[in-house]
Every structure is written in structure tokens, then in C-alpha cells.
């Protein structure tokens, strides 16, 4: 049903359809018993947002009449807000949960990677966990044995192979977990936001590995908040919104359209009732604003103008190790930078119940002219994500003529710092040196 224009590289992929999804719906019944368990949060919290909208009271349509097709060898990105239904879709396609209506057909061996290190046991050694995790992901013992050395090498844990993984650093743990997953060889791979772990260098290697997988002709469905990665890896993308497919097309178009719709809030944002439901019980975000130096709200700044981003939140019960931060993204999805309120102190602080406002001062002469988005993230580092709002704010930086720049003098790049330059007359110096000698 989707035959949007394809990128040139895709035209040879006239392959058969390997994933066919027809009018798939998933309805969650929200009863007291279901909400009681914390573990449900993953699946539900995000989707709770839509309670009020559509659907009967007490039920919520996490997926609503979703249809699409994917051909052999395609790498397709799935984007959308938290709770839009992306993860639910992957769960249904992975057969973890059953759809309520509709049908999907998948041709070929499927592996899903919804988390790295599923089934890892802290008491078992690296070697044992490789076998266990491999089996859980659907690999045969012989397959794991054949790939064992490669996995160990990729994870760089040779020396700790026989150490229980509970003694691993979190970096080693993630590397090992990803290494096992990366050596799966399914025909169809479903991946959910697994790259959001590990350090930047390792994330790059993971993306590289994903690229290899994509190039080796396997079919991949890839969910990520990292729009830059989606753009790089996936020629085509599906934008999921409120359980429905909002648009399908080339990733460039889809990301643009998605950001456009997301950025409608401008320089200030207040959660409405829906997003309140999605918030963790311990913290509620009340408002997020962008302010000029003078303190008035704005969503348009001059290039050399400083501004601040302010997050007002309530802590409902005293909480330790809380961290508020944001990510600034350019309009092609590239992350420009991230900042956390804990940056000076390194660790989250403890909060008593009450209302707080965190304010971050962003200097002028930092961002280049263009449109940017602010994603709000409230979490407890290494413990839990409390709240995330993708592209909560959008703002524009306008080219200025001040500070040594003439109007119309454009620069490439996302940042446009004013750096110090010096210039000496080297000819004069040389002449003097000659005279001296």
C-alpha cells in the first residue's frame, strides 16, 4: 500500500514483500489490576496518553488500524513520539503480545532486539551469558559456537570471559550484550532503541554494525529517537502517531514533517492532561519555557543573543538522584548538544517534595542560524527514565549582522562560535630575524 518514491539505491530492491501488516490494532484494557504492577509501565505509560481520545473509556488503542508493507532488503525507520505505538508495533510483530484485530505476515526468520542483554544473569560468566543470551535470541548452539570468537572480539572482553558479569563495568556489560545481538543473523531484524546505551564511541560502532546488517541485504525495522541515525541508516521511514500511521516516505521527508508537527509548541510548552498521565508518579513536569535575557518568553533569538531554557517541575515525594536535562536537535535530526542540570555537580541531587524550576543559560554566538528543537528528559541516572518529551520546544536562531558578521554572510555548520583569531606579519618577522643573524 505504500509505494512512495524510493531513493535511487532502492530501485533494484524489487524483492518480494517480506512483512505485510494489514489493519493491525492492539487494544489495552486499562483496569485497576493492570495498572497495579510496575512492570506494566513500559508497555502502558506511554500509551496512556491517549486515554481520553477515541476509544471507549477503560480501553486504549495502542495501535489503530495499522497497515504497511516492507520488501526484502529494506531498512525502514519507525519514528514517533514516546507512546505513539512504535514499541507496541514491534512487540506485536515479534509475537511478544497478540494483536486485538488485524493480521501480519512475516516471511523469513525474525529476530527482535527490544533490549540488549535480555536474560543476562549477573551470576553467570561472560562466556555462559553469551550462550544463554544467544539461545534466548533464537540462535542455535552451533551458531553461537561458530561466532563465539567474533562476539568476544567485538565486545573486547577476552580477559574477563570467565568473570561473572556482575563484576563487569556497565560499559563492558552493554558491549557484550550488544555483541551477541549484533551477531544474530536473521532475515528480518526488529530493533527498538537499543543504541541509546553505551558511550558515544561504542554507539558509533553499533551504528556501523547496523549499517553492515542493512547492507548485507537483510530487512530491518528500526525504532529510534535518534533521528540522525534513522536518516543515516534507513532510506524509508514510517511515522507513527497515536497508534496510527501518520505518513510513510523517504526518511528526509518524514523527519522534516515529523519535526514540523512536533515543533508547533514554539518557545513554551505545558503538558496537557494526556501527557500528565504518562508522567511518573514521583515527578510532574509543569512547564517548559524559553526566555530572552530580559526574561520574556520567546521562540526566536538572534545569533549573538543569549537565552535560557527553564523547566518547572514538582517533586511529589522526596527523591534522590534526580536529573533534569535537555537535548537540542537540528531540524534534520542531528543532535547538537545535550545538557543536564547535574553537569556542575556530576550527580543528581536529592529533592524534598516541592516545586522547583531549573534554568539553563545558553550563551549567544553558539548556534548557527536555523531551526532547533528541545527534547526534555527527566531521569535518575542509571536508574530510571521519569519523563521524556521529544521536541517539546522549537525555536529559531536568526542570522545577525552584528559581531563582525555582515548580513547575508552565511556559515556552514550547526554551531557558529566566534573564535579568537590572531594574525602576525610573518614576513616582517623573517626580515628581522635575518637582520639579527
Amino acid at each position: 500500500m505504500i509505494s512512495e518514491p524510493k531513493e535511487p539505491g532502492l530501485t533494484q530492491l524489487t524483492g518480494e514483500t517480506v512483512v505485510r501488516v494489514e489493519r493491525l490494532s492492539k487494544v489495552y484494557r486499562i483496569g485497576a489490576t493492570q495498572l497495579r504492577h510496575n512492570t506494566l509501565r513500559d508497555a502502558l505509560v506511554s500509551t496512556l496518553k491517549r486515554t481520553g481520545k477515541g476509544g471507549n473509556s477503560g480501553t486504549l488503542r495502542a495501535l489503530d488500524n495499522v497497515s504497511f508493507e516492507v520488501r526484502r532488503g529494506e531498512v525502514v525507520g519507525l519514528i514517533g513520539r514516546n507512546g505513539a505505538g512504535k514499541s507496541t508495533l514491534l512487540k506485536v510483530l515479534s509475537r511478544i503480545t497478540e494483536p486485538t484485530e488485524g493480521r501480519a505476515e512475516i516471511r523469513g526468520r525474525v529476530a527482535s532486539l527490544l533490549e540488549v542483554g535480555t536474560g543476562f544473569h549477573p551470576e553467570l560468566t561472560g562466556r555462559e551469558n553469551i550462550y544463554l543470551n544467544g539461545a534466548i535470541l533464537g540462535m542455535r548452539r552451533t551458531e553461537i559456537a561458530a561466532k563465539f570468537d567474533e562476539i568476544v572480539e567485538f565486545a573486547e572482553i577476552e580477559r574477563f570471559l570467565d568473570t561473572p558479569v556482575k563484576r563487569y563495568s556497565s560499559g563492558m556489560y552493554v558491549r557484550l550484550a550488544f555483541a551477541v545481538a549484533a551477531h544474530l543473523e536473521p532475515e528480518i531484524l526488529l530493533v527498538d532503541e537499543v543504541l541509546a546505551v553505551g558511550d558515544a564511541a561504542f554507539q558509533d560502532r553499533c551504528l556501523g554494525k547496523m549499517g553492515d546488517v542493512a547492507r548485507s541485504g537483510r530487512t530491518v525495522l528500526f525504532v529510534s529517537h535518534n533521528l540522525g541515525a534513522i536518516k543515516r541508516l534507513c532510506p524509508r521511514s514510517i511515522w507513527v502517531d497515536s497508534g496510527r500511521i501518520a505518513r510513510i516516505g523517504t526518511s528526509g521527508d518524514i523527519i522534516g514533517a515529523y519535526l514540523d508537527s512536533a515543533g508547533s509548541h514554539g518557545g513554551s510548552w505545558q503538558p496537557n492532561d494526556e501527557s500528565h498521565d504518562a508522567q511518573a508518579r514521583s515527578v510532574t513536569v509543569c512547564a517548559m519555557n524559553m526566555l530572552t535575557k530580559a526574561g520574556s518568553r520567546a521562540s526566536r533569538f538572534q545569533m549573538d543573543e543569549s537565552f535560557s531554557i527553564e523547566v518547572a517541575y514538582s517533586v511529589l515525594s522526596s527523591l534522590e538522584n534526580l536529573r533534569v536535562g535537555f537535548t537540542i536537535t537540528a531540524d534534520d535530526g542531528t543532535v547538537v548538544f545535550e545538557s543536564k542540570d547535574t553537569d556542575p555537580a556530576d550527580y543528581g541531587r536529592s529533592y524534598a517534595a516541592g516545586n522547583y524550576t531549573a534554568r539553563c543559560h545558553v550563551p549567544g554566538n553558539l548556534l548557527n542560524a536555523g531551526r532547533y528543537y528541545v527534547t526534555l528528559i527527566v531521569d535518575r541516572p542509571h536508574q530510571e527514565l521519569l519523563f521524556r518529551r521529544d521536541q517539546a520546544l522549537s525555536f529559531a536562531i536568526q542570522a545577525t549582522d552584528g559581531a563582525g558578521l555582515r548580513a547575508g554572510d552565511t556559515r556552514l555548520g550547526l554551531v557558529r562560535p566566534i573564535l579568537e583569531w590572531s594574525c602576525e606579519d610573518t614576513l616582517e618577522e623573517a626580515r628581522q630575524q635575518n637582520a639579527d643573524s
Binding site: 489495552y28 512492570t39 497478540e98 493480521r103 501480519a104 516471511r107 551470576e123 542455535r140 561473572p164
Partner: protein, 297 residues
Amino acid sequence: MLRTSDRAAAVTTSVERPRTAASLTIIEPTRGIASLQLRALWEYRELLGFLAWRDIKVRYKQTALGIAWIALQPLLSTVVFTLVFGVLLEVPTNGAPYALFSLAALVPWHYFAGSLSRVGTGLVSSSNLITKVYFPRLVIPLSGVLSTLVDFAVGFAVLLILVFVYRVPLTPNVLWLPLFLLLAIVAALGFGLWLAALNVKYRDVNYLIPFLLQLWMYATPVVYGATLIPEEMRWLMALNPMTAVVEGFRWCLLSGTMLVAPSSAPLVLLSAGISLTVLVTGIVFFRNTEKTFADLV
């Protein structure tokens, strides 16, 4: 777009493809009674093995005595029961030494109790797997009864040693032993499946299981013999499948001092019938609630 066919949620069938031997997976809502999924279970036999192996491996990690605990658990219970019921209360054992009399019952009982609680809580404690990966969910309860067999083997070895120590002659009755073990497995799996599926929705089961097992042990002739019960009441005891298992073990190993005579075969059959019924209904119940596990757990 609902299909009318009664197809299981995910039927995997091999379809001949020219380019690759790709399998076709159909995902749709289950209607009617879910199939047993024997083929899928067979495909996941390695995972079953790995999960059972993980259980065994992890269970006694970081314990000073390690695997010795497997042997110590029934031995320590035997010592306590021998003191209380054998020496103080002088429970009649039809001539068998009380230690042997109780250990012969404790070994299968420990197997049953261990399996039942492992199967009953297995789904919930594996929730991280259930919400992240697909595999036939029956693998988890099956790995529970499987991994407990290792404990059983060790306990049984200790029991055999004790049999030789007391110089009790082995008789051909021993050949019936595997059947009684099978009965214990069937009972543990059957009741366990019911509890496991209920536990997903009602965490109360977690609290219920230890209490249930304690009551159940005293309802089963573990510390006493079935002969203590009046003859006309024994059929009531047979409603509890573990009676047949426990008395069966004694009959196989201590036949000279027998309690369950061949004449009680109908009672054993009654126990077996009940176990099988619980197992079959347990599987049906489990398979039909399975689709909600990932949403509820």
C-alpha cells in the same frame, strides 16, 4: 479484517521458497482453543535446556557449600523429623527405620515442592524475558520441572546410600520407581501451570505457594504413613496425587515394610487420573491465557 479460521496467534509453517527456505509467520488474534505448539516447543528445545541449566548453575552460586546443599536439605529435614516424629511421637512405620521411612518420602516430596514453586513463580520471575522476546511460553514451566530433577537425582543418591546403610534388600518393586517419579512430575507441572498462569494476574499466588505447600505436606503421608489413616478413608487420601507418589516410593524401596500394597492399585490409578486431568486442564488454561502474559506481567 478478522479471519474466520481458528488459527493460533502465530503459526509457523515451512513454505517452500525459491530463493530462501523462508518460513511464513502469521500473526493474528487467537480464536478458539490454542494449539499445544508441540512443534514450536521442539524448535526451542535448546532454550529449554539453557534455561534449566541456568537455574541449576545460579541456584547455589556464591554459597560456601554449593551443591552440597542439595543433599543437605532433605537430610536435615530427615534429622528433624526423625527426632520429632520418630523418637518423640513414635509414629508407626511398619518396622522400617524412621529416618529411611521419612527420607524415602521427603526426596519425592522435595522434588514436588521445589518444582511446584519454581513453575508457579517462573513466569513472573522471568517477566524480563516474556516482555522482550518471543518463545513458546511453556518453555519456562518445563525448565522448572527439568532443573529440579537435578536436585532430585542428588537426593535420590543419598536415599540409596541410606538404603544400603540400613541393609534393606532391593526388590523388583524398584522397577516401578520411574512411574512414580513421572507421576510427581505430572502433578507438579499440572498444578504449577495453573498457579503460574494465575500468578501473572494475581500476585497473591506468590504468597499462597509456601503456605499451600506446608499444608499440602501434612496432608500427604510424608512424616507419617498412610496406614495411620483408617482403611475406608484412604480413597480420600488418594485424591491427593502426592499420596500415591510418596507411598509409591516407600513401596518401591522398602517393600519389606510395605504400606501401599498391590491391592491399593486402584487408588494409585485414581491419583494418576487426577494428576493427568490437572495437567491437561493446566495446559489448556495456560495456553489460553498466554496471550495476555506480556501485557500483564
